[in-house]
């Protein structure tokens, strides 16, 4: 506890980096997963689902280490880690995004079509808003795991909250490691709650959803 108080500034700074490193991939991954889920023709869905399942099975540490060698990104770990996390978000969210769109009531879509809405109008004004609860549910799962997974990036030189694990373990300062654990837990829960609130705010017609 004393350690955390004495190093509050460091913890705050690491928290900001941590949020940066995880929220950008989350946003990017969300958009890409929704796009991928929307454009993938039904016959290809099982193939893409199992391919993304295999991607999801790649241990994050391995992807952080091997990505520069595989796709030729730069060496300073940050970009590289954010690309890897984006890939995880896509593979974690694709299935729920797909589900969110396929489970829309067909009658509503038909009605929108009959009203003369174009494909893009239907997407932005009908399908996407109706899919929000499903998409938010998927995003919440992806958010929590991305934020906790991002800490492993400290091993490849990204100075986020995971730094407290490595440094605290080297110096055998329990409070430092524990502060990192707690900080990550708190921001993951905070982001989770924000997403839940966002989902509620965006879908005023369905106020029955619970935490």
């Amino acid at each position: 506890m004393t350690w955390a108080l004495n190093n509050a500034e460091l913890i705050l700074q690491l928290t900001l980096t941590h949020l940066f490193v995880s929220l950008i991939p989350l946003g990017l991954g969300f958009v890409l997963a929704v796009a991928l889920a929307r454009v993938t023709p039904a016959p290809f869905t099982p193939g893409i689902t199992s391919a993304l399942g295999a991607v999801y099975a790649i241990p994050s540490l391995a992807l952080f280490v091997a990505l520069p060698a595989l796709i030729g990104t730069d060496f300073l770990g940050l970009t590289n880690v954010m690309i890897a996390l984006t890939i995880y978000v896509i593979s974690s969210m694709f299935f729920s995004a797909r589900d969110a769109f396929t489970s829309l009531p067909p009658a509503t879509i038909e009605f929108a079509r009959a009203q003369g809405l174009s494909a893009s109008q239907r997407f932005f004004f009908v399908e996407f808003p109706l899919a929000i609860p499903g998409l938010i549910a998927g995003a919440r799962i992806a958010a929590a795991s991305t934020i906790s997974m991002a800490s492993i990036a400290a091993v490849v030189g990204v100075r986020n909250l995971g730094y407290l694990f490595l440094d605290g373990f080297q110096r055998r300062i329990f409070d430092e490691v524990f502060a990192g654990l707690l900080a990550i837990f708190v921001i993951a829960i905070a982001v989770d709650l924000s997403l839940w609130l966002l989902g509620r705010a965006l879908t005023p017609w369905s106020r029955r959803s619970r935490v």
């Binding site: 099975a57 241990p59 540490l61 391995a62 280490v65 799962i141 934020i147 906790s148 995971g162 407290l164």
Partner: protein, 228 residues
């Protein structure tokens, strides 16, 4: 840069298949840590999940636990446990951390499987004079089997890919090649180890998937039979 030929050469080199840190040994270690922790998690999570599903009380705890567990960084949990238990107990520490990961999906699989049953099913069973434990054993658990197996599927994927962190605290498993390879700049070793972990994960996932399908088919056949 990376090329497949040198990757195959690394895999074909017999020296990487021998000894304490040879691939067979690392694989065995990886599997034993995985099975042990999933087994312990199942012993605790299944009875609780079934009880909660059966009684309908405490469901929100299951949901909360599920989201809370995702928010806990495994590396931090692992280090905290090692520091609390002492380095000599690191195998226990890593097992506990893995149990903590495997527990929520198994719990929610069992809970959700039983909760998802149509309410008229347990009602009908009770009307036929079944006791609570008969209802669980003969009706609820068999019908919830696909969901229960589904919980194991998620637990498997998460545990197998998390064992990778064990070498950070001086244990083995296939993550050894990733951490040693990183320090030695041996990308063939890193990629080969990662590939083996992916193959292991996907293979196990497919096997559990087959089990899940068999359970579902069994249910469909038996209910289909009765309907006729």
């Amino acid at each position: 840069m990376f090329d497949f030929e040198s990757l195959w050469m690394w895999l074909a080199d017999s020296k990487n298949w021998e000894g304490r840190y040879g691939l067979p040994n690392l694989l065995a270690e990886h599997l034993s840590l995985t099975f042990m922790s999933i087994g312990i998690a199942a012993l605790i999570a299944l009875p609780i999940g079934i009880a909660i599903g059966h009684s309908g009380k405490g469901g929100s705890v299951v949901v909360l636990l599920g989201s809370a567990s995702r928010a806990i960084p495994t590396m931090g949990l692992l280090f905290v446990l090692v520091m609390l238990l002492g380095v000599q107990q690191r195998e226990l520490a890593v097992t506990l951390a893995l149990v903590a990961i495997a527990f929520p999906p198994i719990l929610s699989g069992a809970y959700a499987g039983i909760r998802a049953l149509e309410p008229h099913i347990p009602e009908a069973a009770r009307a036929q004079g079944m006791t609570g434990s008969q209802l669980i054993r003969l009706v609820e658990v068999p019908l919830a089997m696909p969901a229960i197996v589904g919980g194991f599927r998620i637990a498997w994927i998460q545990v197998v890919s998390t064992v990778v962190l064990a070498p950070l605290i001086g244990l083995g498993g296939l993550g050894f090649g990733i951490i040693q390879g990183l320090a030695l700049r041996n990308f063939d070793q890193v990629v080969a180890s990662a590939m083996l972990i992916v193959i292991l994960t996907v293979l196990g996932d497919q096997l559990i998937g087959v089990a899940q399908k068999t359970q579902t088919l069994k249910l469909e056949n038996s209910s289909g039979g009765r309907n006729k």
